[in-house]
C-alpha cells in the first residue's frame, strides 16, 4: 500500500510535474518532425540526465516518450508525412481530411482518442502487468512468424486500387528490409561487396524519402494552386462523437497493449493492424476508408498510444524491453543504480507506481498540448506551397541526417524520394513498402528460428502449430483473412445474402 502512494509522487512535486510537462511538450514536436525519433531523444537524454537523480530523469524521458508517440500524427495529418513509423496509418485518412479543410477536427479527435488509448494502456500496465507479460513470453518464434504473416496480409487494406500493385510494393519493401549483413549468420545480402551496405538501408531514411520528398515533388505539380483554408472552430470532439468511437477504440487499444507488450513488435505494427481491424469491423463509415474516414484515424492513434503502456509491461515485470525506447530506459535505470529485472517489482514497487503515475501525468499533458497548439499547426498547411515545399525538403534532409549522423542516409532518403514519386505517379501505394520493411526481419528471422528448432522438418513445424493453442488461433486468423480476400469468398457471400 505504501508503494502505491508513490503513484502520487509526480503530482505532489512541482519540479517533477514540470519535467513531465516539458518532456511531453518537447516530445510532441520531436515526434512531429520526421527523422527526429523518440528513441533518439531518449538516448540523448541518457547522457544529459546522467548526473541527475533517477526520478527527474525518468520523468523527463516518460514525457518525451508519450508526447513523441502522439506527435507523429501531426505531420501525418497536415502534410501527409508521418513523423514516425507508427503514424503511417494515420496519414491514410488524416491527410484527406486536411485536404477538405477539416484538419482541426482531425487533430482534435486524434488527440482525445490518443489520450483514451494511452489511459487504457496505462490501466492494463497498472492492473494486469504480470498476466500480460506471462502471455507475451508464451510467443514462440513460430507465433511471431504467424503474426508477421498476418501483418503482410494488411497489404490488402493499405492498397487502394490495384492489389497487384500493392503486393509489388510490399515485396519491394521486404527486399529493402533484407539488405545488409544478416545478423543471424553474418552472411551479406544484396550488399554488392560495398562495406557501407553491410549495415543495411536505414528504414527511417526510406520512410522520410518515400513520404516526405515524394510529397514535396508531388506538390510541385500544383505549386500555384491556393492552399485549402482550414476550419478550426470544431477542435474538441463532442461527447457524442467520442461515444460513437468508444467500442472501436476499446478493441484497437487492447490490440495496441498486447502488440506493444510483445518484445520485438511495437507501436508501428500495432497501428497498422488496428487500421486494418477498423476497416474490417466498420460496416458503414461516413466516408470510405482512404478518403477521410474518422475510424481510420481513431484506430491507429488509440493503438499506438496504448502500445506505450504495453511496452512498459515486460520492462517493469521482467526487465525485458517491449520496444526500442524501453530498451534505452532499462539502460538509464542501470546507470542510476537500479537493477531493472524481475526483482524490481518486488524490491522497489514504489518505482513501478511512480512510473505509472508519471505516465498518467504525461498522458494528461499530451491532451493539453495536443488541443492547444492546433491553430498554429494548421497554419502550416495554409502556407503558400512555394514556402512549404522547400521547408519539407529541408526537414527531410535534416531528419535523415540526424538518424545516424551519416550523409549516406541522406542519399538513400533522396533516392527513395524519387522512387516514391515515380510510384505515386503510376498508382503504386507507398504504405505496403514501409509495411514490408518493418515486417521483413520479423518474418525472416522468426521463420528461420521456427524451422531450425524443428530440425528443418515441415511436418514437425505444422504439428507444432496444431498442438499449441496460441499458434492455432494465429494460424486460423491468417487462413480466415486470406480466404476472405479471395474472389471465391466474395462470390460465396453474395450467394448467401441473396
Amino acid at each position: 500500500m505504501d508503494a502505491f502512494l508513490a503513484f502520487f509522487t509526480i503530482f505532489t512535486h512541482l519540479e517533477l510535474l514540470l519535467l513531465v510537462g516539458l518532456g511531453t511538450f518537447a516530445g510532441v514536436y520531436v515526434g512531429a518532425i520526421p527523422g527526429l525519433s523518440v528513441t533518439m531523444a531518449v538516448s540523448i537524454l541518457i547522457s544529459f540526465t546522467f548526473s541527475w537523480d533517477v526520478l527527474p530523469a525518468i520523468s523527463l524521458m516518460i514525457g518525451i516518450y508519450m508526447g513523441g508517440v502522439y506527435g507523429g500524427s501531426r505531420t501525418a495529418i497536415l502534410l501527409n508525412i508521418p513523423g514516425a513509423p507508427s503514424a503511417i496509418a494515420t496519414a491514410l485518412d488524416g491527410y484527406p481530411m486536411a485536404q477538405r479543410g477539416e484538419a482541426g477536427e482531425a487533430i482534435g479527435t486524434t488527440t482525445v482518442m490518443s489520450f483514451f488509448g494511452g489511459l487504457i494502456g496505462i490501466g492494463v500496465l497498472a492492473l494486469l502487468a504480470p498476466f500480460v507479460s506471462d502471455f507475451a513470453l508464451k510467443f514462440q518464434p513460430r507465433d511471431y512468424m504467424l503474426l508477421a504473416v498476418l501483418g503482410i496480409l494488411l497489404v490488402g487494406s493499405l492498397s487502394s486500387g490495384s492489389l497487384i500493385k500493392g503486393i509489388f510494393a510490399g515485396a519491394f519493401g521486404i527486399a529493402i528490409g533484407a539488405v545488409g549483413m544478416d545478423p543471424l549468420t553474418f552472411t551479406e545480402r544484396f550488399t554488392f561487396d560495398i562495406p557501407l551496405m553491410r549495415g543495411g538501408i536505414n528504414f527511417i531514411a526510406v520512410m522520410i524519402g518515400m513520404f516526405g520528398v515524394s510529397e514535396a515533388l508531388m506538390q510541385l505539380h500544383h505549386v500555384n494552386k491556393d492552399a485549402v483554408r482550414q476550419q478550426i472552430n470544431r477542435i474538441v470532439p463532442s461527447f457524442g462523437t467520442i461515444k460513437k468511437y468508444l467500442p472501436l477504440s476499446l478493441q484497437t487499444s487492447s490490440l495496441g497493449v498486447i502488440i506493444g507488450a510483445l518484445p520485438g513488435t511495437g507501436g508501428d505494427i500495432a497501428a497498422l493492424m488496428a487500421y486494418d481491424h477498423a476497416k474490417r469491423v466498420t460496416k458503414n463509415p461516413e466516408r470510405p476508408f482512404g478518403e477521410g474516414a474518422m475510424e481510420g484515424l481513431v484506430a491507429p492513434e488509440t493503438a499506438n498510444n496504448a502500445a506505450v503502456g504495453g511496452a512498459f509491461i515486460p520492462m517493469m515485470t521482467l526487465g525485458i524491453p517491449g520496444d526500442a525506447v524501453t530498451a534505452i530506459m532499462i539502460g538509464a535505470l542501470f546507470i542510476h543504480g537500479l537493477n531493472p529485472g524481475p526483482m524490481l517489482m518486488i524490491e522497489k514497487p514504489d518505482m513501478f507506481w511512480f512510473i505509472v503515475g508519471a505516465l498518467v501525468c504525461a498522458n494528461f499533458f499530451m491532451l493539453l498540448f495536443g488541443l492547444t497548439g492546433i491553430k498554429l499547426f494548421t497554419k502550416i498547411v495554409e502556407m503558400p506551397r512555394a514556402v512549404l515545399i522547400p521547408l519539407i525538403l529541408l526537414l527531410s534532409i535534416v531528419g535523415a541526417y540526424a538518424v545516424n549522423n551519416s550523409i549516406t542516409d541522406v542519399y538513400w532518403m533522396l533516392g527513395f524520394g524519387v522512387i516514391g514519386y515515380m510510384m505515386r505517379h503510376y498508382g503504386y501505394p507507398l504504405g505496403p513498402v514501409i509495411l514490408g520493411v518493418i515486417l521483413s526481419r520479423l518474418l525472416d528471422d522468426n521463420w528461420r528460428r521456427a524451422i531450425i528448432s524443428e530440425r528443418e522438418d515441415l511436418g514437425r513445424f505444422f504439428h507444432g502449430i496444431f498442438t499449441s493453442p496460441l499458434s492455432l488461433v494465429l494460424f486460423m486468423a491468417v487462413v480466415l483473412i486470406f480466404v476472405s480476400q479471395t474472389p471465391l469468398w466474395t462470390k460465396f457471400r453474395k450467394k448467401e445474402s441473396s
Binding site: S43, Q140, F186, P195, G200, L318, G337, R455
Partner: protein
Amino acid sequence: MKKFVIGAVSALSLMTSAAIAQDYPTKEIQGIIQWGAGGSTDTVMRAVTPHAEDVLGGTVVMQNMTGGVGAIALNHVANEDADGYKLLMGAENPLLYKVMGLGDKDYSDFVPINILARGTAILVANNDAPFDDYAGMMAYIAENPGELRIGSTGPGGLPSVVTAMIETVEGELDVISIPYDGDGPALTALQGGAIDVMPAVLGASIEAIKAGNMKPLAIMDTTANEYLPGVPAVTDFNEGFATYLPWGPFFGVFVKQGTDEAIVSKLQGAYAEAATNQDFVDLMASRGFTLMNISGDEAQSFLTKWQQGTSWLLQDAGLTKASPEEFGIARPGE
C-alpha cells in the same frame, strides 16, 4: 649545420607536440560507441566517461554508431585524423573481424586507452529443462541427440565461443543452435521456452537468475563468481576448461594508432582515475562485470592473448572464414 637544422626542427616539433598535449583538449572530444543505446557497452561508457571528463577538464560527446557488428564505428574512427579528438568505445568483437571476414581493421590499428572491465560467461537453462547442472546437461545431450536447443548470437558472438570451447573440451555436441539478434532477445526466448540453454554474459542474466526465472548450470570460469555464490565453475565438472579460462567479453576505450603520445598518456590517466570512481565501481559490480582498469603494455598483451585464444578456438571449431595464420595471429603458446 645540417645536424643543427635537424636538431632544431625535431626540438621544435617536440615542443609543439608538448604544447599540443598541454592544451589538449582544446575542443570537444567525440566518443563513438560501437553498440546501441542502452546496451552493455553503452552503459559502461556512459557511466565512466563523465568522471574522465572531470579529470580531463573537457567534454566528451558520446554517440552510438551501430551496424556491421561494430565495424562501421571502428572504420569511422580509423578514417579520421589521429589527433585524439575521436575515441572509439568498443567491446571485444573487432578482435575477430579479420578471421570472421568482417573487415580488415581491428584493434591493432588503435592504441588502448583503457580496458575497463570484463564480463564472465554463464550457462543458463529454462526452468523446465530436465537437468539442473552442467553435468546433467551433457548427460541429456548424450541421451537425446539433436533435441537440445541452444541459443546463439551468430558466429563470433559470445555463445559461439562458449559452444566452441565446450566442443573442444568435450567433443562434438549434437544440439540445435538457434540464432538470435543478441543475448537480450535470446534470454527472453529462453524464459518463454523457445530455447532450452543459453550461454550468456553474467550481467545480462543475473537478475532473472536471482528471481528464479531461469536456472544457472555453470559459470564459465575457473572459480565461482562472487556475485552468484553457490553456482559451480565449469572446471568443477571438467578440468579441461582450465586451458581456455578465464575468458570473457570486455569493454575498452581506444584512439587511432599514431596519436601523439602525450595525448594518449593524458587520456590514459583520465580514464584510469575515472575507473576508480565509486559510482562506476558499484555499477560494474551490480552488472556482474569484473573491473580491469588496465592500459599500456598490460592492455596490449591482454588484447593479443584474447585474440590468439579466441581466434584459434573458433578456427578449430570450423567457424572462421579465414585462418588466423593469414593475419599472423599465432596459436596460443607458440
